[in-house]
């Protein structure tokens, strides 16, 4: 069921959009919430021309899922794509080519494959995983903070979702 976001959800979303540097982008945009029994609450971005039809006819699927709302907002791969395009300042790491291929197979990130990114990341922080062209290939969670992210032969960032996941799950 698609519906408008309630005040509490809007507060979480505004805070999250601010953190990801996409607050201004979303100001004029149409956002709807999709709620289904036993599923996480999902956040959808859509063209303004679509809103009325969605609310009145409740299609099975609509717009672009930009993330999920739990206690916080977790960007989806499509949300990550948007953030990387629009935002000038968002938490991220940049990985080398080998790690890029591995991430696209769903694997997590070893310290030695990180070649750059936001300084002073915290432990347990949600970040975007970018390749050397600064293209978003995944969303991850840091397992360490700051310089400890670069530890050799240790998974320092867990991949939560990656751009290859649909292809791997196709037909399932």
């Amino acid at each position: 069921m698609f519906r408008k976001a309630c005040r509490q959800e809007l507060t979480i979303l505004r805070r999250a959009f601010n953190k990801w540097g996409v607050f201004d982008f979303f100001v004029e945009k149409t956002i709807l919430i999709k709620e289904e029994y036993h599923k996480d609450t999902e956040v959808y971005l859509l063209s303004s021309g679509l809103e009325l039809i969605i609310l009145s006819r409740q299609p099975n699927y609509a717009g672009l899922k930009v993330g999920e709302l739990k206690k916080n907002f977790l960007p989806s791969m499509e949300g990550a794509d948007l953030i990387a395009r629009v935002s000038k300042n968002f938490p991220h790491i940049i990985v080398n080519e080998i790690a890029e291929r591995l991430i696209l197979y769903g694997r997590s990130v070893l310290g030695q494959s990180i070649v750059g990114g936001t300084e002073n990341l915290n432990e347990n922080e949600i970040i975007l995983l970018l390749n050397r062209n600064r293209e978003p290939i995944g969303v991850g969670r840091t397992k360490f903070s700051g310089k400890y992210l670069f530890q050799i032969d240790i998974v320092t960032v867990t991949t939560l979702i990656d751009a290859g996941h649909y292809l791997r799950n196709e037909g399932q």
């Binding site: 021309g49 679509l50 699927y61 609509a62 791969m77 794509d81 890029e100 696209l104 390749n131 649909y166």
Partner: protein
């Protein structure tokens, strides 16, 4: 209506044996395909591969330069956003650029169908048989992600593929209904543009699948033509006055193409508009004599247009 089958001749028997088709299929091709020998020969080769730039995410120039640096050999086509891939070092469906939604793998003929729709921003558009979403995502990009695009598909498994492609391509102006296109009037909506890329017997891609050369039956064509008639009638009823319906199939069979559009012309106040690509539609086929306007519909042949077999009719609903 019965699928036309013609009396065999030594030539049709010989060609059918040479190219491993059932005779009735080749015999029908001989009735209407120009230069049928070159045609049958061209079906033996792998069809050209095309990708369509997803301009919602990248422009064609940037995409080309990325792919060229990865060792791809590319060639331009008649359509600005569509690129022929002459050589690729890896599978074109597994590059990072593909996963990031920079392009869609799609035959040039399919792109012509969307081109025929004359899509503009902020329109209300219906894609009536939409999985896996190749044309849906192209329409969305032509709408620049504005307005409202409704995609319909009755097969839930195939709906998954639309959702994947919509997500990958960053489409925000589309909603998907899992429903039968014949019930589209239940949505109570009228559209500026409707695409009916109809389920068909798939003759246009028959050579890809060796088994189909001998298990394709006249009844397949009859069965599809029946559904196509019902779908096109449902489609025309939801087009706004002055709006456009594009009917397309990947079949060569006149029963699924000209005959369907001819039926519509007899029943509704519509016009067939010219379209600049492809060969003219048929006005005669065996005992069939179609209206002269059917020439404005277009046929695409592998040996002439370097595409899969395809048919497009651009139909304007009169005010």
């Amino acid at each position: 209506m019965k699928t036309l089958v013609f009396p065999s001749t030594p030539e049709s028997v010989g060609l059918a044996r040479l190219y491993r088709y059932d005779e009735w299929i080749v015999n029908r091709f001989m009735q209407y395909v120009p230069d049928v020998y070159t045609f049958l020969e061209s079906l033996e080769r792998d069809p050209p591969r095309y990708i369509r730039t997803n301009t919602l995410k990248i422009d064609s120039k940037k995409l080309k330069s990325k792919l060229l640096s990865k060792g791809f050999k590319l060639k331009e086509t008649a359509l600005e956003d569509v690129i022929a891939v002459e050589k690729a070092l890896y599978s074109i469906g597994a590059t990072t650029e593909y996963l990031l939604g920079y392009y869609y793998i799609q035959d040039l003929s399919s792109c012509f169908a969307v081109e025929a729709l004359d899509i503009g921003k902020d329109q209300t558009v219906l894609d009536m048989a939409s999985a896996p979403g190749g044309k849906t995502t192209f329409i969305a990009q032509k709408m620049e992600n504005t307005g409202c695009l409704i995609a319909i598909e009755p097969n839930p498994k195939r709906v998954r593929s639309i959702l994947y492609n919509i997500a990958r391509c960053g489409v925000i102006n589309t909603c998907v209904f899992t429903m039968d296109g014949r019930q589209v009037s239940n949505l109570n909506l009228k559209f500026d543009r409707v695409l009916l890329d109809a389920p068909c017997s798939g003759e246009g891609v028959i050579a890809k699948d060796n088994d189909r050369r001998t298990n394709h039956k006249p009844e397949d064509v009859e069965y599809c033509a029946l559904i196509q008639r019902e779908l096109i009638e449902a489609a025309i009823k939801v087009v706004k006055p002055g709006g456009l319906l594009v009917y397309s199939t990947c079949s060569f069979a006149p029963e699924e193409n000209e005959n369907i559009v001819n039926y519509l012309l007899d029943k509704f106040d519509i016009q067939i508009e010219p379209f600049q690509y492809g060969n003219d539609g048929l006005v005669n086929f065996g005992d069939f004599h179609f209206r002269q306007d059917l020439k404005n519909t277009k046929r695409f042949y592998p040996h002439l247009h370097k595409t899969l077999g395809f048919y497009i009719a651009k139909i304007r609903v009169n005010n």
